[in-house]
Symmetry: D3
Amino acid sequence: MLRFDGRQPDEIRPVKITRKFTDLPEGSVLIEVGKTRVICTATVEDKVPPFKKGTGSGWVTAEYSMLPRATAVRNQREASKGKLGGRTMEIQRLIGRALRSIVDLSRLGERTIWLDCDVLQADGGTRTASITGAYVALADAVNYLLKNQLIKQDPLIDSIAAISVGKVDGIPVADLAYEEDSKAEVDMNIVMTGSGRFVEIQGTAEGQPFDQEDLNAFLNLGESGIQKLSALQKEALAKELPVA
Amino acid sequence: MLRFDGRQPDEIRPVKITRKFTDLPEGSVLIEVGKTRVICTATVEDKVPPFKKGTGSGWVTAEYSMLPRATAVRNQREASKGKLGGRTMEIQRLIGRALRSIVDLSRLGERTIWLDCDVLQADGGTRTASITGAYVALADAVNYLLKNQLIKQDPLIDSIAAISVGKVDGIPVADLAYEEDSKAEVDMNIVMTGSGRFVEIQGTAEGQPFDQEDLNAFLNLGESGIQKLSALQKEALAKELPVA
Amino acid sequence: MLRFDGRQPDEIRPVKITRKFTDLPEGSVLIEVGKTRVICTATVEDKVPPFKKGTGSGWVTAEYSMLPRATAVRNQREASKGKLGGRTMEIQRLIGRALRSIVDLSRLGERTIWLDCDVLQADGGTRTASITGAYVALADAVNYLLKNQLIKQDPLIDSIAAISVGKVDGIPVADLAYEEDSKAEVDMNIVMTGSGRFVEIQGTAEGQPFDQEDLNAFLNLGESGIQKLSALQKEALAKELPVA
Amino acid sequence: MLRFDGRQPDEIRPVKITRKFTDLPEGSVLIEVGKTRVICTATVEDKVPPFKKGTGSGWVTAEYSMLPRATAVRNQREASKGKLGGRTMEIQRLIGRALRSIVDLSRLGERTIWLDCDVLQADGGTRTASITGAYVALADAVNYLLKNQLIKQDPLIDSIAAISVGKVDGIPVADLAYEEDSKAEVDMNIVMTGSGRFVEIQGTAEGQPFDQEDLNAFLNLGESGIQKLSALQKEALAKELPVA
Amino acid sequence: MLRFDGRQPDEIRPVKITRKFTDLPEGSVLIEVGKTRVICTATVEDKVPPFKKGTGSGWVTAEYSMLPRATAVRNQREASKGKLGGRTMEIQRLIGRALRSIVDLSRLGERTIWLDCDVLQADGGTRTASITGAYVALADAVNYLLKNQLIKQDPLIDSIAAISVGKVDGIPVADLAYEEDSKAEVDMNIVMTGSGRFVEIQGTAEGQPFDQEDLNAFLNLGESGIQKLSALQKEALAKELPVA
Amino acid sequence: MLRFDGRQPDEIRPVKITRKFTDLPEGSVLIEVGKTRVICTATVEDKVPPFKKGTGSGWVTAEYSMLPRATAVRNQREASKGKLGGRTMEIQRLIGRALRSIVDLSRLGERTIWLDCDVLQADGGTRTASITGAYVALADAVNYLLKNQLIKQDPLIDSIAAISVGKVDGIPVADLAYEEDSKAEVDMNIVMTGSGRFVEIQGTAEGQPFDQEDLNAFLNLGESGIQKLSALQKEALAKELPVA
């Protein structure tokens, strides 16, 4: 039995990674996963948060936002509300943790790399697409630092990507689109390194609790999906960047 | 003498208008004016602000934001600061007024059309590009309402576009890029209808005050630029929209 | 090799559950897990959030806070800062989701049950202790509704408890105290029903990524710990409540 | 004629003062006055507010909060509302002023002592119980400073306690419980030193204005109540503290 | 021995009350007490706060603010800071309570009277001048309601005024100017009805605690000062109002 | 045909400028333009915003507010709302830019001059009256700096004033009162130097767009009005200031 869009249970949506999507950031990536589209930019800033001052070591942090009409129904801007919602905070903390897990911060010097993930269109999996795209933007920012001899050693110790898995109509599936996500019984986000180790697992039973067997199926789907995403990241980064 | 990018004083930058840039909004436009890029979406909402309730008449309003790295130096998100800055408020009020000036609100019924202008890349003239692009998104949203027979009469009584003019190195010029804007002696935004009448004039002497002669030069540049923009809007709207 | 406090790797800290800790709430529980102490109260409110209005169904939600000096260093009140931090939001969203997973909301009628978790003393595991304690407070509030014939059928379809597991000095351990938590390589929170199914798994590699083998060890520790906690909840709820 | 709970007009409710209620603060007191229960902690911090910097002198300040369900009806958290209410501000300013009145700040050095008063259960008189309990926590924090030779001279120049008095059903009474407080014609809070001098008098006619004769009755009730509270504070502080 | 400005201990500063200071409010009073100047306006609004809806009864409330340069050093606007300070909240709650104490709210119908007290120049005693002036503005608003037959019975059951008293250089004095206020050992605000009964007493020992004898002196000074203020209010209200 | 108040189209309302309206600020002006009344104070502060630090140069900035009952209907305080509205921000940015245009900031040294414009009564033209009055307050503050030899050279390189013009019932008119403003088809604010050059032009078509002919009429009315205002400013500043 096929999924609503004809995919196999373990099939991820078409992924397109465009580097240098905008001209000014040190890294600027448009990632498209099916209809989900996220701009991920990386900004190098020559200062660190207070708890890092004087340590000689750097920091990597993330912010996440959706355009008001990334979704079917317009959602009010958090800037107009005057505060960030819980969902936004949770997501940007997750992205930051994920990216930091593959960076040797001591090699950055006292610098912060900001990863800004702005969702142009949301069709499920915006947080995982953000992580996958932000890694490519981060790699470009690191290349910028290396090329300009601002740092000496590559601080990236692995690559990182993320995928959502879940159980829809009783079947474990990978890379849920919004139509699936909204009726999933279980929703799990998996963040893994290119070398195949877990960095983060966040699974939530939306309807029915799940058992060990489900979990194993989720992890297998996650691992296989992440391998594909890692290969796509590698391929994208192998291309020559266009001159601005 | 040519300008820094080789343009004549009255020459506007290349303009590209992409309709249906994203799939979900009733109107979705990417406008590019030189390197300035703004996404303008139009959302139809079936309610009105309190002061319009029970009037049978509708409302048109705008919000404006920049991605943090739309600029050379990353600017902090207003959602993270917890409040909108004065510049943002001023711009979104201007966009809203400009668009309302060519809408017969009584023909909208008790509906609000939200125009969201999000700047992906800023190279001068983001507020004027927002107005010019938002008009096209608004026109698509109005078409959606007409085609679905939600309204009976076209509420658009004219078209609207905007341009910046100013004095750089003593010479009046049209459509300033950031490099010119940052050193302009006078900066003026002109909003005009397609039929050639003024809706808004906002001129500020950044360095030296200006006189009547300067003003006449600005208005001529503005009028000529707006005519070109109006033609481009018309051309963009004449194309068949791709099926989603 | 024993842990810093003499526990075996799978040994949880002493747990004490005091019902009717304060007199006024419909449920009021003090849960002590080692030195961690949390007051969990349940409040029945005769209204629901806007998205539930008119559905005939209820809602369960949670709020979480720490007293400023629950920790070794005083932390500033979020009320004084004027906003909730990301950690607080993440935790209270987790507690709410966890408790909702074992409630048949349609049996509550249009009522909200608020679960307030206030940490008096923090020694690791405050979010998991909050979930475990909140379940008991919720059960008391449900009993209040049943006894007063405000609802007809018991909406609780299972019990719920939570535990933290992690890897400390290379060894997987259960129920981390602060001293262990602060140096853990992996930190995972597991939420399970009394019937032994997963509701939420949140694992984060703080230092080194982890693999499938680690994960299995974590899940086994979690399952065994949750069984003990479920038994303690049951035992606490079996006691006659003192008359106020 | 007796009061609703059988007390004489000048009779205060049973008071219980528990020191070292939590383990981490320099002073940690649970004060119970009838059913009113407040945790008062004292935190020593090695810095002072800007207006004290470089003066060699210290500061004492207070914060006050209620758990959401300290009251019969759940009150919304001020952290969730995003701002402190007027009542909270008024109370925490009062507590701070009261405690500062018996401290020789110059003997503290450039240190701040924070007094956090968190109400677990509210049955009238929470602000006066906070002052009475905070004094004991402050004394413990001062003992900690003296014992660790961080300061040389005892900065406490007197003790301080507080009581509410008022007129209920035409009769002046001391230490009002919530049932009395809610229908009192006059409500007065009196803060006095152990040596019997006034530090603060705040009296408000809720219904009928009062005259000099009423006022004299209130002051007598206040003085007598404060003497009892001062004796209880002294007694509590005379006990050996348990070793943590 | 005279005071710094030549006054006797019980002598109040020159008071000037100007009615209809601005044209639009239902009551508009400029009160000058020495150099302290406060505009007090009364606004009648045809709605009540939620807790009064459907009661048939009205409400009286107050807001207080200082112009940034009412003081010797410019103080930042609370609107710019984004929140009201504790002092402001305390004062506006006091003014509201004081005015409500002499109004029979049931005679107002479901109306709110807002009393806005804006300090143009601050030289001590701004909160007491606000109360004294707000009474006159309130009386004018009530006259407006009566004259326009919007209410039938006069809701004012007494008049109200306020004064500060204190101890300066060891001497009890009335109506402290800023120079005295800033060095007072005790500072007490007394609010009394025209018929000579207390509505509010708020006394604070800034330096030394005070005793019963001091208190008696303060109350005598307060009573005598309030009598003078009440007479001045009466006199001001006796004048014919200018036609706008 | 005369205007509603008998004025000719180019006739401005009676203007009264009172210097030293309050005693404490370095400049304090009450400006009355018809029934519009604004207090403009100038405060000299010995520090500059961060972007000016270390430049040796100063800053001039403005804040604007209305008393709640400056208008026919009471408007809620922005301090109570917790944020500045867009209109307020727009106006205070305009006032600041206007005043900076005639100041040589390098002659101020590292000082800020704050211009606070507080509207006591609003009858149209509050922003233009604020600019016109703020100039006089600024001039007094500059005189204070010169007289006290805190600066050596006069930093004022011109004077500045502002006026509103517009089209009412089809006729271009100057200095609109509220009754005219509320029904104007076009509303334009013009800021000009005493030497007759433009600093700011902000024109908005409220109803009908306007053409070049209208614009010329507006500019002529503006110029003539500004000349009268500049003369009145000069006259006011020529008077000897009363000794405080």
